[in-house]
Every structure is written in C-alpha cells, then in structure tokens.
C-alpha cells in the first residue's frame, strides 16, 4: 500500500492506495505554525486500523519551503560573486548586495583571469563581521571549471571558519549565472530547517511502526528518497501543485492533453498536461520574485477562488484577489463566487437564504435580479480562468526555438479535457470545459487528488552531459560533475552510452536505480569544432530524462 500526504495552504490531504484502488482518504486543516503536526494528525486518521507493515511507501508533499520563504523565516545568506566580464553584476538586483571578486572563467571553462587571495580574505572578513553564517559562492561559468569556487570556499574555511559556504556548481550546472546564484542562496537559506523537518518526519514515521521508505515530492512531479533530498530542499518547492498534476495524470486517461484546474479558496492553480506529459516551466521556477533553476511544472496561479470577494465598480463585477472570510452562505461578510454558485443551484455548501442575501448585494449594485447577478459573477470567474488557459497555450506555442526541427515540430495544441481537482472545482469546471470545447473531468476523489498523485508518483531524473573532446573533459549540468573524457573521435553513440552510464550512477546515488532503465535520450547534438579549416574536436550535448510518471502498479488494470 502507498500513502500520499499533501500539506497544502488550507488543508492537509491524505490518501491510501492499494494497487490500483484508493482505499481510504482523510482531510484535515493545515496549521502553518506546525506543518509536521498537521501532517501527522491527518496521517494518523488515515492509517487508523491499517496494518502499517503493509505500507510500502510514503510520499510527502509540503508547503514547508514555500512558507519559510514567503514568511521571511529563511536564514540570511551572504553572496560572493565571481562574475568576470559581461553584465554588470549590480544589474541583477539580488535581494542582498553581493561581494564581487576578480577572476574569471570562460564559456568552455578556461580561466581568463586569476582570483586574488587578498580580496577573498577581505570578503570573508567583511561577511563574518556582518554576522553572516551562510555564504553562497557563485562564479560565472564555474560549472565548467570548479577551481575558483573551491578555492574561495577553502580560503573562507580558514579565514572565517564559522561561515558555511555552498558553491554554485554543486547546486546547478545549468547556464544562467544569476539563477544559479539565487538557487544557491535559497538552498542555504532553507536547508537547516528542511533537514530538521525531514529528521522529525522520519522519526515520527518510525515511531508509528512504518518501516517503508519515505519520499518527498519535487516540483517536477518526481519523488526523491527523503534522506537524499536533504541537500536540495528548494526542489521540493511548489510540490503541492505538482501533486495535483500527478493526481490528474493518475485519474485521467493516459496520453491525452488536459488542463488541470485546482480552484481553492482564494487562488486557482492551472497547469497543462500535453499528450500525457506535464508541461515544465522552460527555464525554472520563480520563487518570490526570484528566478531559479528549480525544475518545476509550469503552474499559473490566479487570484480568484471560491471565497474571493465580489465587488462592483463602475457597473462591472470584479472578483478577488482578496478574501474577507468564508462565503456569505457560511456566515461570511461579503458575497463570493461560492454564493453565486449556490444561487444557481450548482453547489449546496451553506445556507441558501444567506447566499441569496449575499448575491443580493451585488444585484443591487448592478440593478439586476439576484439570478442575473449570480450568473454574471460565475461568468466573470469562468472568463478569467478560460483567458488564462488560452494564454498558457499561446505562450507554450510561442516559446523560443533554437533549432529548425524545434520550430517546425511544434503544432497548435488544444485541451481534450479540463480536469478539476480541489474543493471548489466541481461546479465550475464543467463551465470552463464548455467554453474551451473540452470534456470536463471531475475525477472520483477530486478533493484529495493531490494526495493520490503524491502516493503514485514515480521518481524523475534528468542528466545533461556536455563533452568537449578538444579539452578532453565532460561536465554534467545537474550537479556540476566534471571529469575527463578520453578520445577525440568519440561518436554520438559513444556519448549517449556515457550519458546512460552517468545517469545510472546518479540514480544509484539517489536510491532510484530501479527507474534508470526508463531514462530516454530527449535531445542530443554534435558540434564540430573547426579552427582554421580543420576539425580540432567536437562538442557533444546529450540530454536524458526519466520523465514524470505514475507507478506501474497503479496503471495496472486501469487502462482508460
């Protein structure tokens, strides 16, 4: 049996899955001051009367990291940059003022100019004096040559031993220096909190006799063993929306194109599944205005939900983004979309007379009947959602392309399904689907789809290998691994073989080797390096991926 638990913004949902069946679900409130407590209370209700020995896997998805950052509880992190030539580093507008060091590495990992030890010492002193206990050291192109970052860390450990240093190349090897800096800072800022949470969660499970492996859900819909995730807490940000998407993947037919609509109290999260593959945000997640390298589903949040305040200004209805309390029908102070849905007989979540009274406020301001006002409120909500979905498809179609095949291959996509999850979705999703000319799907267990998604999600992994045969070296983007690559005449097949081996090793390190064979080559290209009319080497790029997916046993007899 699999357990999935999603600690969301308002509720904590849990589901128990046996083979291809959902055998039990539980829903409880989330207390932001006590994420672990919320998790355990709901889980205890779920596993009550269940033989815990039969639990094979527990998958958690939490808002822990999101909350830490949003509530300013993350730790202060100092930033040391080795930017070299190019953009003025002050133009990046980091939240903290970076210390800039001389020294530079170029795009192929060759040192352009050396570091200066006196500057490093002074930087360590200055940051220590300012009371920093954690410092991110990030160099431009240092993912292709680690020497500068390593040297700075070594000097810091002597000059300021109290400071914990993390290096950019260990967090991400992807191109984009400012994103790498932001991701490294966020990693440092949340890692200790996360580690404490993970340890406590693990202990709590063991105390309950659960011996099964515990996993955490990442923003890209993949699971990672909890103990292997300790170094990479930011990858778990936005795991809530990822859980919903995985839930829809689990509860809808395979291979189709669907819009995932998760309507909550004040926000609606939208995501796309294109021909069975969840759409990833092309460059990485944006966390509190900070652009990062975190691989995440492209989730769009709009400030509209069942409890959003409905107002009338200049004869027009506006909905949200704020919440004044519960719906009028449940004793709240202002009319809400939920009240309008009640008036139209689309839901019965409260007192009808109160709902009519609430919508009556809107009707009076508009000078129309209560029914007409209710229809207009619902139309406004549906319109916002439909517009955003269309915009998301358009943006996907308009994503830049750097190769001819990329440009020619992408065709227009339209949704086949609109799948609603979350509490407020059932009455609204059919209306959205109708406008998009798609089939509305409200899966069984829709309110806890995210917990189901977590329970049945499988691991994901990417591996991006670049081989520079002229320099005789290779780098792996994901963790900045750097090594020697022999053989000038390495073929593409040879490079793919090497990528496969590296991926397997990486999967073993992360305890997900069972899935290594599922990895597919998603992209590979070879550049002949020509200098003075003769070929001096090759640059080979190979990208492999274990894509987001659902555990086999769930798919078992489900089919469509």
């Amino acid at each position: 049996m699999f357990v999935g638990i999603d600690v969301g913004g308002t509720t904590t949902n849990a589901a128990l899955v046996d083979g291809n069946r959902v055998v039990k679900t539980a829903i409880g409130p989330t207390d932001h001051q006590e994420i672990l407590g919320s998790l355990l209370r709901t889980m205890d209700r779920l596993i009550e009367g269940v033989e815990v020995e039969r639990i094979e896997r527990v998958v958690l998805s939490t808002t822990l990291i999101t909350n830490l950052i949003a509530e300013g509880k993350a730790e202060r992190v100092g930033l040391v940059l080795i930017p070299g030539p190019g953009v003025n580093p002050m133009d990046y507008r980091f939240k903290t003022e970076p210390v800039i060091l001389e020294g530079a590495v170029d795009y192929r990992g060759r040192e352009i100019s050396p570091l200066r030890d006196d500057q490093i010492k002074a930087a360590a002193q200055r940051l220590a004096d300012q009371g920093y206990r954690k410092v991110a050291v990030v160099g431009k192109f240092c993912q292709r040559n680690h020497d500068h970052e390593i040297h700075v860390r070594e000097m810091f450990s002597k000059a300021a031993p109290a400071i914990e240093v993390e290096m950019g190349h260990r967090v991400s090897g992807r191109l984009n220096f400012p994103r790498r800096a932001a991701t490294t800072m966020l990693t440092l800022a949340t890692r200790d909190h996360y580690r404490r949470f993970a340890e406590q969660a693990e202990r709590a499970m063991r105390e309950r006799g659960i011996k099964a492996p515990i996993y955490i859900l990442k923003a890209d819909g993949g699971t990672l063993p909890l103990d292997k995730s300790l170094d990479r807490p930011v990858e778990t940000i936005f795991s809530g929306p990822a859980a919903s998407v995985m839930g829809v993947m689990a509860l809808t037919p395979e291979g189709q194109t669907s819009v995932v609509v998760d309507i909550g109290g004040t926000t609606t999260d939208l995501a796309l599944i294109l021909s069975g593959k969840p759409l990833l945000s092309s460059k990485g997640a944006k966390i509190e205005e900070m652009l990062t390298h975190v691989r995440a589903f492209a989730v769009r949040s709009i400030g509209i939900g069942g409890d959003s305040v409905v107002r009338v200004s200049d004869g027009k209805i506006t909905v949200g983004p704020d919440r004044a309390g519960p719906a009028f029908a449940l004793g709240g102070p202002e009319p809400t979309p939920t009240d309008a849905l009640m008036v139209l007989g689309l839901t019965n979540f409260g007192e009808m007379t109160l709902a009519r009274k609430g919508v009556g406020i809107t009707a009076k301001a508009l000078g129309c009947s209560i029914e007409d006002a209710a229809r207009m409120i619902v139309d406004t909500v549906v319109e916002r959602i439909v517009d955003t979905v269309n915009m998301m498809f358009l943006e996907w179609e308009q994503e830049p392309a750097y190769r001819i095949w990329e440009l020619l291959q992408r065709t227009k996509a339209r949704p086949q399904n609109v799948a609603g999850v979350g509490g407020a979705s059932p009455p609204l999703v059919p209306l959205v689907a109708k406008r998009l000319n798609a089939v509305a799907i409200i899966p069984e267990h829709a309110p806890v789809a995210n917990a189901i998604g977590a329970a049945v999600a499988r691991p994901t992994m990417t591996l991006s290998l670049r081989i520079d045969t002229e320099r005789g070296m290779y780098t792996v983007e994901e963790d900045g691994t750097l090594g020697e690559a022999k053989g000038r005449n390495l073929s593409l097949e040879g490079a793919q073989e090497m990528a496969r081996r590296l991926l397997r090793e990486r999967a073993e390190r992360f305890g997900i080797q069972d899935y290594a064979d599922e990895a597919e080559v998603v992209d590979s290209e070879v550049f002949n390096m020509v200098r003075g009319w003769s070929t001096v080497g090759k640059l080979i790029d190979v990208r492999m991926e274990i894509p987001a997916g659902i555990i086999t046993s769930w798919r078992g007899e489900h089919g469509s």
């Binding site: 795009y107 984009n176 400012p178 994103r179 994503e399 750097y402 640059l539």
Partner: protein, 480 residues
C-alpha cells in the same frame, strides 16, 4: 532622429490613403514601451558545409555567454519565437531563379521570418527596438538570386524593409551596414530607391571580399547620394569607426530623417576576426549601437566565434536594451591596445568629407543625371557567386520616370564554368510607382512571356503585392 516623427507620420498617412495600403502604425520608438525584442536563432542544425565558417558551431559560444549572463531574464528584454517567412515575402524583394523554393532552405526562411516577427512587434508597439541574432546572414544577396554568394542566399534586411513598407505604410528607411564586408547585396536591391538610405562602412574593397563599396558607388541616377560607401583602411580601430558614425552617419541620418533605422549588424570588424583585418572591439560595437540607436539590428557576418561573438553580442544586446555594458570586454583586451595611426585618421577624414560633399549635392546629382540619361538609363554588370561558383551577367534598365522612382528591368544570364545555367527577364515595379509605370511594366512582362529568348520571365508588382513567375518552356505562370 526621434524628433518630428509626428509630422512625418502624417505625411506617410497621406501617402497611404492615396495608395490604399494599410494605414501606418506608430513606430514603437514614439511609445513609452521600454523593452528590447530579441530573437536568438542559432540554427544549431544547419550549415553550408561541415567546416564552412557558416556552420552549426557559429553561435554556440554566443548562446553559452548570453544564456549564462541571464540576459533573457532581464525585464528590459523580451524573447520572441522565430517563424518562417512566406515565399511571397522573399518574392517581394528577390527574383529567385528559377523559383524561391530552389534558392532557400528552411533555415533561410526562419532567419528572414525572425526579422518579420520583430518588425511586427516593433510596429505594434510591443518593443522599442529589436535584435535578430540569427543565421544564416543575407547582406550579400542581390535582387536577382541564382545561388549563394558571400554565405548569403536571401537578404534578411531587405525582406524586412519591403514587408514593413507594404504592411505598415512606412516609406523612408535607413539601413546602416556595419559589417566589415561591403553590403553589396543590400546596395544592389535599394540602388534605385530614393526612399531607402543605404550607408555601408567596411574594410576597403581593394583588400577584402567582395571587392566593391567605393565612394563612387552612390546609387542609381534617380537615387544618387542615397547610397553612401565608406571604405576604411585595414586596421581601423573603434576610434576610426566611431568617427565615421559621429561625423558622417549621424548627421546624414538626421537630415534624411528616416521613419526607421536598421543596423545590418556584422561583427567581423572585430580585431580577432579570421576573415578580415580591422581592430574593432566589443566595447566599440556596444557604443556604436548605443549611438546609432537603431530600431532594429540584424546579425550579418562575424566569424571569430570564440574570441569575439560571445562578447560582441552581449555588448550589443545590453546597449540596445539600455543596460550598462561597461563590464563587457574580451579576455585578451587591454584598453589602449589599438591605436589609430595619424595616416589612417587623415584617410578616414578625407573619405568622410568627400562623402559629405556627395550627400549635400545629391539633388543636383540627380538633376544632372536626368539631363544626361533622358528617358532610359541602363548599365551592365557581372556578378560572381563565390560560394556556388556562378558567374552572372546582367543588363539593368531603368525607366527614368518624372512621377515616380521608375520601374526596372533586369536581363540576366548565369553560368557555372562553361555550363549555362538559366536566363531570365525580370521586371520590378517599386512600391511607390506611378500608374503609367505600372502599366508599361505589365506590358513588358507580357511581351517577354511570348518570346522564347529567356527561360524565365518575372513581374514583381510591389504596389499590388503580386509576384508572377513564368516559365517559357512549360508556359506555366505562378502567382505569389
């Protein structure tokens, strides 16, 4: 340049109304939008041949640099997706023999299409300027295309110019060609067009491909002085090129007062370029774009793919987006490394002064040409296609119309070695042609269709945006 855009807008509005073309849209630089539009299309899956300078690897390090800098994430920059230009967009500029399809690959259509995406964004006011960082390049492609010359098949800027003029009713455009090679293709296409100012500065044609671009090349008889060529001595530095910009290009632009300014932005003036001998730096390129402030820049050549392009492109993008570019520098560059000799300086000053004289007397030159040539002007040309080893002979004839720029015919024969390729007769009617030129041009097209003298006969009618191609062997006419 930005001054007085309003009244010029109104002028073109009247033109548009008279000619029943779409009403003009305000060019973006008059609006408050602050974004720079960027299309980066490195065509990682296209090459002329595996070891050719125009190969997959060319923009690889540039990609690494601009992505690593995080430039695409800046709020001042917005990245667009390229699209394919339509065959008609190509036919609006070129006579492709035998047809457009056989002269272009998808890569060419995407490079040209990228400029059109940015042109639309500019004219819709979404961006204040744009940079098409695309390959393959285009500025050596002439009006008639039998093959590839100077790494170019079709002319990206020219296709953009005619697209914008047709779609948005813009009339007066300036193209400044900052590639180290003479922009002979663009010059050929706009040679007779008094509404397109073409200024090219480049390494002296006596020392570099394509061996043209001398001050004596100054435009067709009705467009004299609207083509200005600035040959520069090998070894010219930032100082020399910025001198040309300040003392010739900017004053001439101010007087010409174009509605739009384009930079045909080659990067091979760089001191490390393997195919040329100039001494321009990344800082120089950034400064140039800041001063010129083009509405659009389109990449042309530049083959120092490691030592120059990553830095030059970073600098240009920053300059166009109004970001600080002072930190951009090549690894081996130290300030003061290159000095402009006094001899070079004198030579450049003399060239600039000579060109200013031509510019100032442009109307007199046209008047004189009218007297001299009467009703018809013609010239013969030989054109060599270095990439495809094709030799072309042309006879160009211009109707010296008093009402409009006049229509043009080109008779062309191409050969490869001793093997005859194709012959064609091309009739080009400019966008702002008068009705009698349109009528006479049609007649000439019909006449040549019935003769068997040429393999192909073409009629390029820009006012009606119709492009006809007739094969005399199959007697088949295709209309785009």
């Amino acid at each position: 340049m930005a001054a007085d855009v309003h009244s010029k807008q109104e002028v073109s509005k009247i033109d548009a109304a008279e000619r029943r073309i779409e009403p003009p849209v305000r060019p973006a630089r008059t609006s408050s939008v602050r974004k720079t539009g960027l299309i980066f299309f490195p065509a990682f899956d296209w090459a002329i041949s595996p070891t050719h300078p125009e190969r997959e690897e060319r923009l690889l390090y540039t990609r690494d640099q601009i992505f690593e800098e995080g430039l695409m994430d800046f709020p001042e920059i917005v990245e667009y997706r390229p699209r394919l230009a339509e065959l008609k967009d190509v036919a609006r500029v070129h006579f492709c023999v035998p047809d457009v399809q056989s002269q272009v690959t998808e890569a060419h259509l995407i490079a040209a299409g990228s400029t059109l995406v940015l042109a639309d964004a500019l004219m819709r006011g979404e961006i204040r300027n744009g940079f098409a960082l695309v390959r393959p390049p285009g500025h050596h492609s002439m009006r008639v295309v039998h093959g590839n010359r100077g790494f170019c098949n079709i002319n990206n800027e020219a296709i953009m110019v005619e697209y914008i003029r047709k779609k948005y009713g813009i009339r007066r455009i300036a193209i400044v060609d900052t590639d180290v090679h003479h922009g002979d293709g663009t010059q050929d296409i706009f040679w007779h067009d008094p509404d397109v100012l073409f200024i090219s500065f480049h390494q002296d044609g006596r020392t570099l491909y394509p061996g043209s671009g001398f001050t004596s090349e100054m435009g067709g008889p009705l467009a004299l002085g609207r083509t200005l060529n600035v040959p520069l001595p090998p070894g010219t530095t930032d100082e020399g090129i910025l001198y040309v910009l300040e003392n010739l290009v900017l004053p001439v632009l101010e007087e010409f007062d174009p509605q739009l300014v384009f930079n045909s932005a080659g990067q091979d003036n760089h001191y490390t370029d393997p195919l040329a001998n100039m001494r321009f730096t990344a800082q120089g390129y950034a400064r140039l774009n800041e001063m010129l402030a083009p509405d659009m820049a389109v990449l042309e050549g530049g083959y120092a793919i490691e030592s120059a392009l990553p830095y030059v492109n970073t600098g240009i993008i920053q300059a166009m987006a109004g970001l600080d570019y002072s930190n951009v520098r090549e690894p081996d560059y130290v300030p003061g490394r290159f000095v402009l000799t006094s001899e070079m300086r004198r030579s450049i000053e003399a060239t600039v002064n000579h060109l200013l004289t031509i510019w100032e007397s442009r109307d007199d030159l046209v008047a004189k040409a009218r007297q001299e040539h009467g009703r018809v002007y013609s010239r013969r040309k030989r054109i060599f296609y270095d990439t495809d080893m094709i030799t072309e002979g042309q006879e160009e004839t211009l109707r010296m119309c008093t009402e409009c720029p006049g229509y043009l015919t080109v008779s062309t024969q191409a050969a490869r070695g001793y093997g005859r390729l194709n012959t064609a007769f091309c009739v080009s009617v400019p966008l702002f042609a008068c009705s009698s030129c349109i009528e006479d041009a049609r007649e000439e097209y019909e006449e040549h269709k019935s003769e068997m003298k040429y393999d192909y006969v073409y009629l390029q009618e820009k006012p009606s945006d119709r492009f006809r191609a007739y094969c005399t062997r199959t007697r088949n006419e295709i209309v785009l």
